[in-house]
Symmetry: C2
Subunit: 255 residues, 2 copies
Protein backbone atom coordinates (compact mmCIF):
# COMPACT_ATOMS: atom_id res chain seq x y z
CA UNK A 1 0.00 0.00 0.00
CA UNK A 2 1.10 3.53 -0.69
CA UNK A 3 2.82 5.01 2.34
CA UNK A 4 1.22 8.36 1.85
CA UNK A 5 -2.30 7.00 1.78
CA UNK A 6 -1.48 4.96 4.84
CA UNK A 7 -0.37 8.03 6.76
CA UNK A 8 -3.46 9.86 5.62
CA UNK A 9 -5.78 7.22 7.02
CA UNK A 10 -3.99 7.15 10.30
CA UNK A 11 -3.95 10.89 10.62
CA UNK A 12 -7.62 11.27 9.92
CA UNK A 13 -8.44 9.25 13.00
CA UNK A 14 -5.83 10.91 15.14
CA UNK A 15 -6.90 14.40 14.22
CA UNK A 16 -10.41 13.62 15.33
CA UNK A 17 -8.98 12.38 18.60
CA UNK A 18 -6.99 15.51 19.19
CA UNK A 19 -9.97 17.70 18.52
CA UNK A 20 -12.23 15.81 20.86
CA UNK A 21 -9.68 15.14 23.55
CA UNK A 22 -8.47 18.67 24.12
CA UNK A 23 -9.89 20.16 27.31
CA UNK A 24 -12.13 23.05 26.31
CA UNK A 25 -11.45 26.51 27.62
CA UNK A 26 -7.85 25.62 28.44
CA UNK A 27 -5.97 28.12 26.29
CA UNK A 28 -2.27 28.47 25.73
CA UNK A 29 -2.76 30.26 29.02
CA UNK A 30 -0.82 33.25 30.23
CA UNK A 31 1.49 30.97 32.12
CA UNK A 32 2.29 29.03 28.94
CA UNK A 33 2.99 32.13 26.87
CA UNK A 34 5.43 33.38 29.50
CA UNK A 35 7.67 30.42 28.90
CA UNK A 36 6.74 29.92 25.25
CA UNK A 37 9.82 28.94 23.24
CA UNK A 38 8.75 30.90 20.20
CA UNK A 39 7.15 33.91 21.85
CA UNK A 40 9.66 36.37 20.40
CA UNK A 41 9.60 34.96 16.87
CA UNK A 42 5.95 34.04 16.34
CA UNK A 43 3.33 36.52 15.17
CA UNK A 44 2.28 37.20 18.76
CA UNK A 45 5.67 38.76 19.53
CA UNK A 46 4.49 42.37 19.28
CA UNK A 47 1.42 41.97 21.49
CA UNK A 48 1.55 43.34 25.03
CA UNK A 49 0.85 41.14 28.02
CA UNK A 50 -2.87 41.89 28.14
CA UNK A 51 -3.41 41.34 24.43
CA UNK A 52 -1.50 38.09 24.62
CA UNK A 53 -3.76 37.03 27.43
CA UNK A 54 -6.81 37.72 25.28
CA UNK A 55 -5.36 35.73 22.38
CA UNK A 56 -4.58 32.90 24.78
CA UNK A 57 -8.17 32.60 25.74
CA UNK A 58 -9.19 31.64 22.21
CA UNK A 59 -6.35 29.17 21.62
CA UNK A 60 -5.10 25.90 23.00
CA UNK A 61 -2.01 23.73 22.81
CA UNK A 62 -2.08 20.55 20.84
CA UNK A 63 0.50 17.79 20.36
CA UNK A 64 0.96 15.94 17.10
CA UNK A 65 2.75 12.75 16.23
CA UNK A 66 4.87 12.48 13.11
CA UNK A 67 2.56 11.62 10.23
CA UNK A 68 -0.57 13.26 11.60
CA UNK A 69 -2.44 15.63 9.31
CA UNK A 70 -3.90 18.78 10.88
CA UNK A 71 -5.67 20.28 7.88
CA UNK A 72 -6.87 18.88 4.60
CA UNK A 73 -6.63 20.46 1.18
CA UNK A 74 -10.00 21.80 0.12
CA UNK A 75 -11.63 21.52 3.54
CA UNK A 76 -13.35 24.58 4.87
CA UNK A 77 -10.82 26.64 6.79
CA UNK A 78 -11.64 26.27 10.49
CA UNK A 79 -8.23 26.31 12.18
CA UNK A 80 -5.04 28.33 12.25
CA UNK A 81 -2.01 27.80 14.47
CA UNK A 82 1.47 28.77 15.53
CA UNK A 83 4.08 26.03 15.40
CA UNK A 84 5.72 25.75 18.82
CA UNK A 85 7.99 22.84 18.02
CA UNK A 86 8.59 20.40 15.18
CA UNK A 87 8.52 20.40 11.39
CA UNK A 88 5.45 20.11 9.16
CA UNK A 89 4.83 19.94 5.43
CA UNK A 90 2.26 21.78 3.32
CA UNK A 91 1.15 19.76 0.30
CA UNK A 92 -1.27 19.59 -2.62
CA UNK A 93 -2.09 16.74 -4.95
CA UNK A 94 -3.46 16.17 -8.43
CA UNK A 95 -6.65 14.19 -8.86
CA UNK A 96 -4.68 11.05 -9.64
CA UNK A 97 -2.50 11.23 -6.53
CA UNK A 98 0.71 12.95 -7.60
CA UNK A 99 1.84 15.03 -4.63
CA UNK A 100 3.76 18.29 -4.46
CA UNK A 101 5.05 19.65 -1.16
CA UNK A 102 4.50 23.41 -1.38
CA UNK A 103 6.15 24.37 1.87
CA UNK A 104 7.97 23.12 4.96
CA UNK A 105 7.33 24.95 8.22
CA UNK A 106 9.37 25.08 11.41
CA UNK A 107 9.00 26.29 14.99
CA UNK A 108 7.52 29.82 15.23
CA UNK A 109 5.93 29.63 11.76
CA UNK A 110 2.23 30.22 11.26
CA UNK A 111 -0.07 27.72 9.52
CA UNK A 112 -3.62 27.78 8.23
CA UNK A 113 -5.61 30.14 6.05
CA UNK A 114 -7.01 33.17 7.89
CA UNK A 115 -9.59 35.33 6.10
CA UNK A 116 -10.48 32.65 3.59
CA UNK A 117 -13.10 29.97 3.22
CA UNK A 118 -10.95 27.03 2.12
CA UNK A 119 -7.68 25.48 3.20
CA UNK A 120 -5.62 25.48 0.00
CA UNK A 121 -3.25 22.67 1.03
CA UNK A 122 -2.91 19.87 3.54
CA UNK A 123 -0.71 20.31 6.62
CA UNK A 124 1.02 17.20 7.97
CA UNK A 125 3.53 16.76 10.79
CA UNK A 126 6.89 15.39 9.63
CA UNK A 127 8.22 15.09 13.18
CA UNK A 128 6.37 15.07 16.47
CA UNK A 129 5.16 18.61 16.93
CA UNK A 130 3.34 21.02 19.21
CA UNK A 131 0.97 23.72 18.02
CA UNK A 132 -0.82 26.68 19.52
CA UNK A 133 -4.17 26.23 17.79
CA UNK A 134 -6.93 28.81 17.24
CA UNK A 135 -10.42 28.51 15.74
CA UNK A 136 -10.21 30.54 12.56
CA UNK A 137 -13.27 32.70 13.14
CA UNK A 138 -12.11 33.84 16.57
CA UNK A 139 -8.56 34.37 15.30
CA UNK A 140 -9.77 36.45 12.35
CA UNK A 141 -11.78 38.63 14.69
CA UNK A 142 -8.88 39.09 17.07
CA UNK A 143 -6.52 39.92 14.22
CA UNK A 144 -8.86 42.55 12.79
CA UNK A 145 -8.93 44.23 16.18
CA UNK A 146 -5.15 44.12 16.63
CA UNK A 147 -3.27 45.74 13.76
CA UNK A 148 0.13 44.86 15.26
CA UNK A 149 -0.77 41.20 14.87
CA UNK A 150 -2.03 41.69 11.33
CA UNK A 151 1.12 43.57 10.47
CA UNK A 152 3.29 40.78 11.71
CA UNK A 153 1.14 38.28 9.81
CA UNK A 154 1.49 40.40 6.68
CA UNK A 155 5.27 40.47 6.97
CA UNK A 156 5.35 36.74 7.41
CA UNK A 157 3.04 36.16 4.45
CA UNK A 158 5.14 38.44 2.24
CA UNK A 159 8.25 36.48 3.22
CA UNK A 160 6.49 33.19 2.50
CA UNK A 161 5.47 34.48 -0.91
CA UNK A 162 9.04 35.50 -1.72
CA UNK A 163 10.36 32.11 -0.70
CA UNK A 164 7.63 30.30 -2.61
CA UNK A 165 8.34 32.25 -5.79
CA UNK A 166 12.04 31.54 -5.46
CA UNK A 167 11.13 27.85 -5.27
CA UNK A 168 9.17 28.15 -8.52
CA UNK A 169 12.45 28.92 -10.28
CA UNK A 170 13.82 25.68 -8.91
CA UNK A 171 10.78 23.65 -9.95
CA UNK A 172 10.49 25.14 -13.42
CA UNK A 173 14.06 25.69 -14.49
CA UNK A 174 16.56 23.64 -12.49
CA UNK A 175 17.69 20.10 -13.30
CA UNK A 176 17.76 17.25 -10.81
CA UNK A 177 21.32 17.88 -9.65
CA UNK A 178 20.72 21.58 -9.07
CA UNK A 179 17.48 20.83 -7.26
CA UNK A 180 19.07 18.39 -4.81
CA UNK A 181 22.06 20.62 -4.17
CA UNK A 182 19.77 23.60 -3.53
CA UNK A 183 17.65 21.65 -1.06
CA UNK A 184 20.64 20.38 0.89
CA UNK A 185 22.03 23.90 1.21
CA UNK A 186 18.62 25.24 2.20
CA UNK A 187 18.24 22.63 4.97
CA UNK A 188 21.82 23.25 6.04
CA UNK A 189 20.96 26.91 6.57
CA UNK A 190 17.77 26.24 8.49
CA UNK A 191 18.50 23.23 10.65
CA UNK A 192 20.91 22.95 13.59
CA UNK A 193 24.00 20.78 13.02
CA UNK A 194 25.65 18.60 15.68
CA UNK A 195 29.35 18.98 16.63
CA UNK A 196 30.37 16.90 13.63
CA UNK A 197 28.50 19.26 11.31
CA UNK A 198 25.86 16.63 10.55
CA UNK A 199 22.27 17.76 10.03
CA UNK A 200 19.29 15.47 10.46
CA UNK A 201 16.97 15.84 7.46
CA UNK A 202 13.31 16.10 8.49
CA UNK A 203 12.36 14.58 5.12
CA UNK A 204 12.43 11.03 3.78
CA UNK A 205 13.71 10.45 0.26
CA UNK A 206 10.12 10.34 -1.00
CA UNK A 207 9.37 13.66 0.67
CA UNK A 208 12.51 15.21 -0.78
CA UNK A 209 11.24 14.04 -4.17
CA UNK A 210 7.86 15.63 -3.42
CA UNK A 211 9.49 18.96 -2.55
CA UNK A 212 11.67 18.99 -5.66
CA UNK A 213 9.22 17.65 -8.20
CA UNK A 214 11.29 14.50 -8.84
CA UNK A 215 10.99 10.76 -8.22
CA UNK A 216 12.57 8.99 -5.28
CA UNK A 217 14.96 7.14 -7.58
CA UNK A 218 16.29 10.32 -9.14
CA UNK A 219 16.79 11.88 -5.71
CA UNK A 220 18.64 8.81 -4.52
CA UNK A 221 20.91 8.79 -7.57
CA UNK A 222 21.73 12.48 -7.26
CA UNK A 223 22.53 12.21 -3.57
CA UNK A 224 24.71 9.21 -4.35
CA UNK A 225 26.54 11.19 -7.03
CA UNK A 226 27.15 14.15 -4.70
CA UNK A 227 28.53 11.74 -2.11
CA UNK A 228 30.81 10.06 -4.66
CA UNK A 229 32.05 13.47 -5.77
CA UNK A 230 32.95 14.23 -2.16
CA UNK A 231 30.64 17.24 -1.78
CA UNK A 232 28.61 15.65 1.00
CA UNK A 233 28.89 12.76 3.46
CA UNK A 234 26.00 10.61 4.64
CA UNK A 235 25.33 9.38 8.19
CA UNK A 236 22.54 6.86 8.28
CA UNK A 237 19.34 7.49 6.35
CA UNK A 238 18.66 11.03 7.48
CA UNK A 239 22.07 12.42 8.38
CA UNK A 240 24.00 14.65 5.96
CA UNK A 241 27.20 16.63 6.32
CA UNK A 242 28.16 19.31 3.82
CA UNK A 243 31.82 18.65 3.01
CA UNK A 244 32.42 21.25 0.31
CA UNK A 245 29.87 24.02 0.58
CA UNK A 246 31.42 26.15 -2.16
CA UNK A 247 31.32 23.45 -4.77
CA UNK A 248 27.83 22.46 -3.65
CA UNK A 249 26.69 26.04 -4.11
CA UNK A 250 28.18 26.03 -7.58
CA UNK A 251 26.18 22.86 -8.32
CA UNK A 252 23.02 24.47 -7.01
CA UNK A 253 23.43 27.34 -9.48
CA UNK A 254 24.31 25.04 -12.35
CA UNK A 255 27.89 26.23 -12.69
Amino acid sequence: MDMRFDLAQKAQDDTALVMAGAPSGKGCGGQYCDRCEVRDQAICADLDEQQRGALNRIGRRVSLQAGQTVMWEGDSSTLVANVIEGTLKLSTSTGDGREQIVGVVYASDFIGRPFGARTPHSVTALTDARLCLYPRGAFDGFAREHPVLEHRLLQRTLDDLDRTRAWMLLLGRKNAREKVATLLLDMHNRLPADRGGVIELPLSRQQIADVLGLTIETVSRQIGDLKRMGLIALAGRRGVRIVDADRLEAMAEGE
Copy 2:
Protein backbone atom coordinates in the same frame (compact mmCIF):
# COMPACT_ATOMS: atom_id res chain seq x y z
CA MET B 1 20.70 38.42 -29.80
CA ASP B 2 18.47 37.07 -27.09
CA MET B 3 15.11 38.75 -27.13
CA ARG B 4 14.90 38.88 -23.39
CA PHE B 5 18.21 40.61 -22.97
CA ASP B 6 17.22 43.03 -25.70
CA LEU B 7 14.05 43.97 -23.86
CA ALA B 8 15.99 44.36 -20.68
CA GLN B 9 18.38 46.86 -22.21
CA LYS B 10 15.59 48.88 -23.69
CA ALA B 11 13.63 48.91 -20.50
CA GLN B 12 16.55 50.05 -18.39
CA ASP B 13 16.77 53.25 -20.38
CA ASP B 14 13.03 53.78 -20.50
CA THR B 15 12.59 53.26 -16.80
CA ALA B 16 15.14 55.94 -16.11
CA LEU B 17 13.19 58.24 -18.41
CA VAL B 18 9.92 57.60 -16.65
CA MET B 19 11.45 58.25 -13.27
CA ALA B 20 13.08 61.49 -14.29
CA GLY B 21 10.28 62.74 -16.50
CA ALA B 22 7.43 62.46 -14.04
CA PRO B 23 6.40 65.85 -12.65
CA SER B 24 7.17 65.80 -8.95
CA GLY B 25 4.41 66.39 -6.45
CA LYS B 26 1.72 65.48 -9.01
CA GLY B 27 0.03 62.56 -7.29
CA CYS B 28 -2.71 60.29 -8.53
CA GLY B 29 -4.66 63.26 -7.32
CA GLY B 30 -8.09 63.21 -5.79
CA GLN B 31 -9.64 63.95 -9.15
CA TYR B 32 -7.91 60.90 -10.65
CA CYS B 33 -9.01 58.55 -7.88
CA ASP B 34 -12.63 59.61 -8.34
CA ARG B 35 -12.65 58.22 -11.85
CA CYS B 36 -10.09 55.49 -11.20
CA GLU B 37 -11.07 52.32 -13.09
CA VAL B 38 -9.83 50.03 -10.35
CA ARG B 39 -10.79 52.04 -7.29
CA ASP B 40 -13.23 49.43 -5.99
CA GLN B 41 -10.95 46.44 -6.58
CA ALA B 42 -7.50 47.79 -5.65
CA ILE B 43 -6.17 47.82 -2.09
CA CYS B 44 -7.29 51.44 -1.65
CA ALA B 45 -10.96 50.41 -1.95
CA ASP B 46 -11.69 50.52 1.78
CA LEU B 47 -10.16 53.94 2.42
CA ASP B 48 -12.48 56.89 2.93
CA GLU B 49 -12.23 60.01 0.78
CA GLN B 50 -9.82 61.82 3.08
CA GLN B 51 -7.51 58.86 3.50
CA ARG B 52 -7.47 58.32 -0.24
CA GLY B 53 -6.49 61.93 -0.67
CA ALA B 54 -3.56 61.44 1.69
CA LEU B 55 -2.43 58.33 -0.18
CA ASN B 56 -2.73 60.26 -3.45
CA ARG B 57 -0.30 62.83 -2.27
CA ILE B 58 2.50 60.28 -2.02
CA GLY B 59 1.80 58.57 -5.36
CA ARG B 60 1.79 59.40 -9.04
CA ARG B 61 0.58 57.90 -12.28
CA VAL B 62 3.03 56.42 -14.70
CA SER B 63 2.61 54.94 -18.16
CA LEU B 64 4.59 51.97 -19.42
CA GLN B 65 5.14 50.56 -22.86
CA ALA B 66 5.06 46.82 -23.49
CA GLY B 67 8.50 45.46 -22.72
CA GLN B 68 9.49 48.03 -20.11
CA THR B 69 10.78 46.77 -16.79
CA VAL B 70 9.67 48.64 -13.66
CA MET B 71 11.62 46.76 -11.00
CA TRP B 72 14.66 44.53 -11.11
CA GLU B 73 15.25 41.32 -9.23
CA GLY B 74 17.64 41.92 -6.35
CA ASP B 75 17.49 45.71 -6.49
CA SER B 76 16.73 47.50 -3.27
CA SER B 77 12.98 47.84 -2.93
CA THR B 78 12.14 51.52 -3.55
CA LEU B 79 8.79 51.37 -5.34
CA VAL B 80 5.38 49.77 -5.01
CA ALA B 81 2.35 50.31 -7.23
CA ASN B 82 -1.23 49.53 -8.13
CA VAL B 83 -1.84 48.35 -11.67
CA ILE B 84 -4.48 50.59 -13.27
CA GLU B 85 -4.46 49.01 -16.69
CA GLY B 86 -2.47 46.38 -18.59
CA THR B 87 -0.74 43.09 -17.88
CA LEU B 88 2.71 42.60 -16.36
CA LYS B 89 4.93 39.64 -15.56
CA LEU B 90 6.94 38.89 -12.43
CA SER B 91 10.08 36.90 -13.16
CA THR B 92 13.29 35.50 -11.70
CA SER B 93 16.33 34.03 -13.42
CA THR B 94 19.17 31.67 -12.68
CA GLY B 95 22.74 32.93 -12.91
CA ASP B 96 23.07 31.52 -16.43
CA GLY B 97 19.96 33.19 -17.79
CA ARG B 98 17.19 30.62 -17.51
CA GLU B 99 14.00 32.54 -16.73
CA GLN B 100 10.93 31.58 -14.75
CA ILE B 101 7.83 33.77 -14.74
CA VAL B 102 6.54 33.59 -11.16
CA GLY B 103 3.38 35.60 -11.62
CA VAL B 104 1.23 37.52 -14.09
CA VAL B 105 -0.61 40.57 -12.78
CA TYR B 106 -3.62 42.39 -14.18
CA ALA B 107 -5.51 45.63 -13.58
CA SER B 108 -6.18 46.33 -9.86
CA ASP B 109 -3.34 44.05 -8.70
CA PHE B 110 -0.60 45.33 -6.43
CA ILE B 111 3.10 45.06 -7.28
CA GLY B 112 6.34 45.62 -5.41
CA ARG B 113 7.69 44.50 -2.05
CA PRO B 114 6.48 46.58 0.89
CA PHE B 115 8.21 46.11 4.27
CA GLY B 116 11.29 44.50 2.76
CA ALA B 117 14.72 45.60 1.65
CA ARG B 118 14.96 43.80 -1.69
CA THR B 119 12.75 43.28 -4.72
CA PRO B 120 12.62 39.51 -5.06
CA HIS B 121 11.70 39.44 -8.77
CA SER B 122 11.65 41.66 -11.83
CA VAL B 123 8.42 43.29 -12.98
CA THR B 124 7.99 43.87 -16.71
CA ALA B 125 5.05 45.16 -18.74
CA LEU B 126 3.66 42.63 -21.23
CA THR B 127 1.24 45.13 -22.71
CA ASP B 128 1.19 48.91 -22.49
CA ALA B 129 0.20 49.66 -18.92
CA ARG B 130 -0.59 52.36 -16.41
CA LEU B 131 0.45 52.28 -12.77
CA CYS B 132 -0.27 54.26 -9.65
CA LEU B 133 3.25 54.36 -8.23
CA TYR B 134 4.36 55.03 -4.63
CA PRO B 135 7.81 55.38 -3.06
CA ARG B 136 8.10 52.37 -0.80
CA GLY B 137 9.12 54.21 2.34
CA ALA B 138 6.17 56.57 2.21
CA PHE B 139 3.79 53.75 1.32
CA ASP B 140 5.03 51.61 4.21
CA GLY B 141 4.47 54.48 6.60
CA PHE B 142 0.99 55.15 5.27
CA ALA B 143 0.08 51.47 5.45
CA ARG B 144 1.22 51.17 9.07
CA GLU B 145 -1.04 54.05 9.98
CA HIS B 146 -4.05 52.67 8.11
CA PRO B 147 -4.94 49.15 9.20
CA VAL B 148 -7.77 48.91 6.64
CA LEU B 149 -5.17 49.22 3.90
CA GLU B 150 -2.88 46.69 5.53
CA HIS B 151 -5.78 44.31 5.93
CA ARG B 152 -6.63 44.54 2.27
CA LEU B 153 -2.98 44.05 1.39
CA LEU B 154 -2.86 41.01 3.66
CA GLN B 155 -5.89 39.45 1.98
CA ARG B 156 -4.36 40.04 -1.42
CA THR B 157 -1.02 38.59 -0.36
CA LEU B 158 -2.70 35.50 1.10
CA ASP B 159 -4.57 35.01 -2.18
CA ASP B 160 -1.34 35.42 -4.15
CA LEU B 161 0.34 32.85 -1.96
CA ASP B 162 -2.50 30.37 -2.52
CA ARG B 163 -2.34 30.84 -6.27
CA THR B 164 1.44 30.58 -6.29
CA ARG B 165 1.40 27.35 -4.33
CA ALA B 166 -1.21 25.90 -6.66
CA TRP B 167 1.13 26.74 -9.52
CA MET B 168 3.93 24.80 -7.80
CA LEU B 169 1.87 21.65 -8.27
CA LEU B 170 1.77 22.41 -11.98
CA LEU B 171 5.51 23.07 -12.20
CA GLY B 172 6.56 20.08 -10.15
CA ARG B 173 4.08 17.41 -11.09
CA LYS B 174 2.25 18.09 -14.35
CA ASN B 175 3.44 17.06 -17.79
CA ALA B 176 3.67 19.37 -20.79
CA ARG B 177 0.15 18.66 -22.05
CA GLU B 178 -1.42 19.23 -18.65
CA LYS B 179 0.59 22.42 -18.18
CA VAL B 180 -0.52 23.94 -21.46
CA ALA B 181 -4.16 22.94 -20.98
CA THR B 182 -4.13 24.41 -17.47
CA LEU B 183 -2.69 27.71 -18.67
CA LEU B 184 -5.21 28.06 -21.49
CA LEU B 185 -8.11 27.47 -19.11
CA ASP B 186 -6.61 29.87 -16.57
CA MET B 187 -6.31 32.64 -19.17
CA HIS B 188 -9.78 31.82 -20.44
CA ASN B 189 -11.13 32.46 -16.95
CA ARG B 190 -9.27 35.71 -16.44
CA LEU B 191 -9.33 37.45 -19.80
CA PRO B 192 -12.33 38.88 -21.67
CA ALA B 193 -13.35 37.06 -24.86
CA ASP B 194 -14.73 38.73 -27.99
CA ARG B 195 -18.12 37.75 -29.50
CA GLY B 196 -16.55 34.79 -31.24
CA GLY B 197 -15.24 33.49 -27.92
CA VAL B 198 -11.64 34.26 -28.88
CA ILE B 199 -9.26 35.47 -26.17
CA GLU B 200 -6.10 37.40 -26.91
CA LEU B 201 -3.19 35.87 -24.98
CA PRO B 202 -1.02 38.49 -23.29
CA LEU B 203 1.94 36.10 -23.57
CA SER B 204 4.19 35.12 -26.47
CA ARG B 205 5.08 31.45 -26.92
CA GLN B 206 8.40 32.07 -25.18
CA GLN B 207 6.62 33.67 -22.24
CA ILE B 208 4.15 30.80 -22.04
CA ALA B 209 7.18 28.52 -21.87
CA ASP B 210 8.65 30.69 -19.09
CA VAL B 211 5.43 30.45 -17.08
CA LEU B 212 5.15 26.69 -17.47
CA GLY B 213 8.79 25.72 -17.08
CA LEU B 214 9.01 24.37 -20.65
CA THR B 215 10.75 25.29 -23.90
CA ILE B 216 9.11 27.24 -26.69
CA GLU B 217 9.21 24.19 -28.97
CA THR B 218 7.37 21.99 -26.49
CA VAL B 219 4.72 24.65 -25.98
CA SER B 220 4.27 25.00 -29.71
CA ARG B 221 3.94 21.25 -30.19
CA GLN B 222 1.40 20.90 -27.40
CA ILE B 223 -0.72 23.76 -28.67
CA GLY B 224 -0.56 22.21 -32.12
CA ASP B 225 -1.71 18.87 -30.72
CA LEU B 226 -4.62 20.45 -28.85
CA LYS B 227 -5.67 22.20 -32.05
CA ARG B 228 -5.43 18.98 -34.09
CA MET B 229 -7.52 17.21 -31.45
CA GLY B 230 -10.17 19.88 -31.85
CA LEU B 231 -10.06 21.15 -28.26
CA ILE B 232 -8.99 24.66 -29.23
CA ALA B 233 -8.91 26.85 -32.33
CA LEU B 234 -6.21 29.41 -33.11
CA ALA B 235 -6.68 32.90 -34.54
CA GLY B 236 -3.38 34.48 -35.47
CA ARG B 237 -0.43 34.28 -33.11
CA ARG B 238 -2.14 35.38 -29.93
CA GLY B 239 -5.79 34.45 -30.44
CA VAL B 240 -7.24 31.26 -28.93
CA ARG B 241 -10.77 29.93 -28.70
CA ILE B 242 -11.67 27.11 -26.34
CA VAL B 243 -13.74 24.69 -28.41
CA ASP B 244 -14.26 21.86 -25.94
CA ALA B 245 -13.78 23.16 -22.40
CA ASP B 246 -14.77 19.88 -20.75
CA ARG B 247 -12.22 17.79 -22.57
CA LEU B 248 -9.62 20.51 -22.08
CA GLU B 249 -10.28 20.44 -18.36
CA ALA B 250 -9.86 16.69 -18.39
CA MET B 251 -6.48 17.19 -20.15
CA ALA B 252 -5.47 19.74 -17.53
CA GLU B 253 -6.05 17.20 -14.76
CA GLY B 254 -4.33 14.41 -16.63
CA GLU B 255 -7.48 12.32 -17.12
